[in-house]
C-alpha cells in the first residue's frame, strides 16, 4: 500500500524540484523572519512606548509609531523619586557592577589557574565543593548571610552586594579553567626551565593567553550584577543606594503609578548598557554560552 503512494509522490516532486528550490529560501526567510519579529516585538514596543505621549501608550498599544516624539518622558522619568534622580541610580549600578566584576573575574582567574595547573593535596575535594556550589539554590544561604551581614553592621551599604564577588564565582572559574586547559603545558614547562615561579607563569604566560575567557566572564558578570534585583532588595534599603533595577520598581508603587512614559523611558535606558556591550562583544558572548552553558 505504501509503496505505490511513495512512487506516485516521487514523480511530481522530482519534476518540480527547480521551482520548489527557488521558493524554499523565501519561505524560510518569511517564517524565520516573522517568528524573529514576534520575538523582538515586545522590545520594540518598550522602546516605542517610551517615546509616546502618556495618553497614547495604551490607546493603540500595538502601534509602534508615536504621533510625536515625547522626549519629556525621559526628563520626567530621570527626575526619579523624592529627590533621588536616575543620575544617582545609574551611578550606583555602575559602581556595583564594575567593582563586582573586577573582583569576580580577577579572583576567579586565580582560582581557575590553581585548579587547572597546580597539583595540591585536597584539590579534588575543593573542586567538587565548587561544582556543588554551582548548583546550590541561593535561598539556602540567603538568610544566614543576611543575619551575618546585619551582625557586622553592613546593612544599608554596598558591601554585602560587592564583597562576596571577590571570593571567586564558580561559573567563571569553570569557564576560565576550560580555557586554560587548551593552552599547551609545554609553555608552562618551558617557563619553569627558565626559572619562572608559578606566580610569574600565571601573570606573564597564562593571563595574556586567557584574555578572551576573561572578557567573556567580565561581560556575564556585568550583566548579572546589573540585573541583580534580590540582593539590592535585601541590602540596599535606602533610596540613595538604589541601583537602577531597584529604582525601576518604584514606578509601580503608589504615587508614581501614572507616569507610564517615564517608566518606559527609564526601563529602556536601563537596557542600553546591556545592548551596547552585546553589540561590541557579540562573539565572546556566543562563544561563552556555547562552550560553558552560561546563561
Amino acid at each position: 500500500m505504501s509503496i505505490p503512494v511513495k512512487a506516485v509522490m516521487a514523480g511530481p516532486a522530482e519534476a518540480k524540484k527547480p521551482s520548489s528550490k527557488r521558493w524554499k529560501p523565501l519561505v524560510y526567510h518569511l517564517c524565520v523572519g516573522l517568528l524573529g519579529l514576534v520575538m523582538i516585538y515586545p522590545i520594540l514596543w518598550l522602546v516605542a512606548s517610551s517615546l509616546k505621549p502618556n495618553d497614547e501608550i495604551f490607546s493603540h498599544a500595538y502601534n509602534l509609531i508615536p504621533s510625536r516624539i515625547a522626549w519629556e518622558n525621559y526628563r520626567s522619568g530621570w527626575a526619579g523619586f523624592a529627590g533621588n534622580t536616575f543620575t544617582t541610580f545609574f551611578r550606583n549600578s555602575m559602581f556595583i557592577s564594575v567593582l563586582s566584576t573586577l573582583g569576580a573575574v580577577a579572583s576567579s582567574a586565580l582560582v581557575a589557574y590553581g585548579f587547572a595547573r597546580i597539583p595540591f593535596a585536597g584539590k579534588g575535594f575543593w573542586f567538587g565543593a565548587m561544582m556543588m556550589t554551582m548548583m546550590l539554590p541561593s535561598d539556602v544561604t540567603m538568610i544566614p548571610q543576611y543575619v551575618m551581614f546585619s551582625k557586622i553592621g553592613w546593612l544599608a551599604s554596598f558591601k554585602p552586594v560587592i564583597v562576596p564577588q571577590f571570593f571567586a564565582v564558580p561559573f567563571f572559574v569553570f569557564l576560565i579553567m576550560q580555557f586554560i586547559r587548551t593552552i599547551p603545558n609545554d609553555l608552562d614547562e618551558a617557563a619553569k626551565m627558565d626559572g619562572c615561579s608559578k606566580y610569574a607563569i600565571f601573570f606573564r604566560i597564562i593571563v595574556p593567553l586567557i584574555v578572551p575567557a576573561l572578557v567573556t566572564a567580565s561581560i556575564f558578570s556585568f550583566y548579572w550584577r546589573w540585573d541583580d534585583f534580590i540582593n539590592p532588595l535585601l541590602y540596599l534599603n535606602k533610596p540613595q543606594l538604589y541601583p537602577v533595577s531597584l529604582a525601576l520598581k518604584l514606578f509601580l508603587d503608589g504615587d508614581s503609578l501614572n507616569n507610564w512614559g517615564g517608566m518606559f523611558a527609564m526601563s529602556t535606558l536601563s537596557l542600553v548598557p546591556i545592548f551596547i556591550i552585546f553589540f561590541i562583544f557579540q562573539r565572546f558572548i556566543v562563544e561563552g554560552i556555547s562552550t560553558s552553558g552560561l546563561k
Binding site: A61, S108, P137, I274, I289
Partner: protein, 300 residues
C-alpha cells in the same frame, strides 16, 4: 623533589584561597546555620529558640499557603522548562544553516534571553498583559475585545510568567546550535542513503547526539526555574497575587523571612527546596543512562 611538592601544596592553596575562603564563609557556614535555624523560632531580633521539627510540621500540615506555593511552583517548572527547551531545539535546528542573514536571526532570537532577567523586562511584561496592554490591543485588531488583565486574573497570571520564561529560550538555543554543529554530517548522509526520512533522522541521530547537552540544560534550567523570583515579585508587586496564583516558592520564602521575620520557618522552607532540587537532579542523573547517549558507548 619533596620540597617542590610542598611548594605546590602551598601555592595551590594560595591560588585557590579566594574560593576556599568564600566557600567557608559564604556557603558552608550559612548552610549549617540555615539548617540550625530551621529547627528554631527566630525573628532576627531575639536569639533563635529551639523548637525541634515544628517548622517542618507546620509546613507539611498546617500551612495551606505553603502548598499553594508548591503547586504554583511545580506548574511553573513543569510547564516552562520543557517548553523552553523544546523551543530552543526547534529554533536551533531552523537556524543551523549557512544562509544570508543567519547572524541577524540568531541575535534576534537571543536578545530576549539577554535582557530577560532584568526588572525592565518584568515591568514591560506587566504592561503587555495588563487590561489595556499589548496583547489585548492585538486581540482587538482581530476582533476579539478583551479587557482581561492577564496578570490580574488568578487562572492566567502564572501563564504570563511561564510565557516570559519560554520567551527567553535564546541561551539554550545557542548551546543547542553549538551541539548541532558538532554532529558529523556523514551520519545524516548515511541515514539519507538508507532511506531515513526527516523525522527518523531527528529521532535516531539528532536527539541521541544532543542528549548529553539536553541533560545538562534540563538540570540547570530546572534549578534556576525553582529559584525564579524577580518576575513574580515585579508582576505581583511583591505579594504573589492575585489569590497567591504567582506565589512562587522563592517569593513565599522571601515573604516569610523578610516581611514576617520568620527566619526559622523560611530556613526550613529553603532546606526542603534544596532536598527537592537534589532529589530531582538525582532522578534526572539516574534515569539519564536510559536516554542519554555517550559516544564512547554508542559507537559500536
Amino acid at each position: 623533589m619533596t620540597k617542590l611538592r610542598e611548594n605546590n601544596h602551598l601555592v595551590g592553596y594560595l591560588f585557590t584561597a579566594p574560593f576556599i575562603l568564600g566557600f567557608l564563609i559564604f556557603t558552608l557556614f550559612p548552610m549549617l546555620a540555615s539548617l540550625y535555624y530551621s529547627f528554631t523560632d527566630y525573628n532576627l531580633f531575639e536569639a533563635p529558640n529551639w523548637i525541634g521539627t515544628d517548622n517542618y510540621r507546620t509546613m507539611f500540615s498546617g500551612d495551606d499557603q505553603y502548598w499553594k506555593s508548591v503547586s504554583v511552583t511545580f506548574t511553573y517548572v513543569v510547564a516552562s522548562v520543557p517548553l523552553r527547551l523544546a523551543f530552543a531545539l526547534l529554533v536551533a535546528m531552523l537556524l543551523n544553516k549557512t544562509v544570508g542573514g543567519i547572524g541577524l536571526y540568531r541575535s534576534a532570537y537571543y536578545l530576549p534571553s539577554l535582557i530577560g532577567g532584568s526588572v525592565a523586562v518584568s515591568i514591560m511584561w506587566t504592561q503587555i498583559f495588563g487590561d489595556k496592554g499589548l496583547l489585548n490591543s492585538f486581540l482587538g485588531l482581530i476582533g476579539i475585545h478583551s479587557t482581561t488583565s492577564w496578570i490580574g486574573t488568578p487562572g492566567t497570571a502564572i501563564w504570563t510568567l511561564i510565557a516570559l520564561s519560554v520567551w527567553q529560550f535564546g541561551s539554550s538555543m545557542l548551546i543547542f546550535l553549538a551541539g548541532l554543529k558538532g554532529i558529523p554530517a556523514q551520519l545524516y548522509e548515511a541515514a539519507s542513503v538508507d532511506g531515513a526520512g526527516a523525522a527518523r533522522r531527528f529521532f535516531k541521530i539528532t536527539l541521541p547526539m544532543l542528549s548529553p547537552i539536553i541533560l545538562f540544560n534540563l538540570i540547570m534550567q530546572t534549578i534556576s526555574a525553582f529559584m525564579t523570583f524577580t518576575p513574580a515579585y515585579i508582576i505581583s508587586r511583591g505579594d504573589g497575587g492575585p489569590l497567591d496564583s504567582t506565589l512562587l516558592y522563592s517569593l513565599y520564602l522571601y515573604k516569610r523571612a523578610f516581611q514576617f521575620y520568620e527566619m526559622g520557618y523560611a530556613s526550613a522552607m529553603a532546606w526542603v527546596m534544596l532536598l527537592t532540587i537534589g532529589l530531582i537532579a538525582l532522578i534526572l542523573f539516574q534515569t539519564s543512562k536510559y536516554w542519554v547517549h555517550y559516544e564512547s558507548r554508542g559507537e559500536s
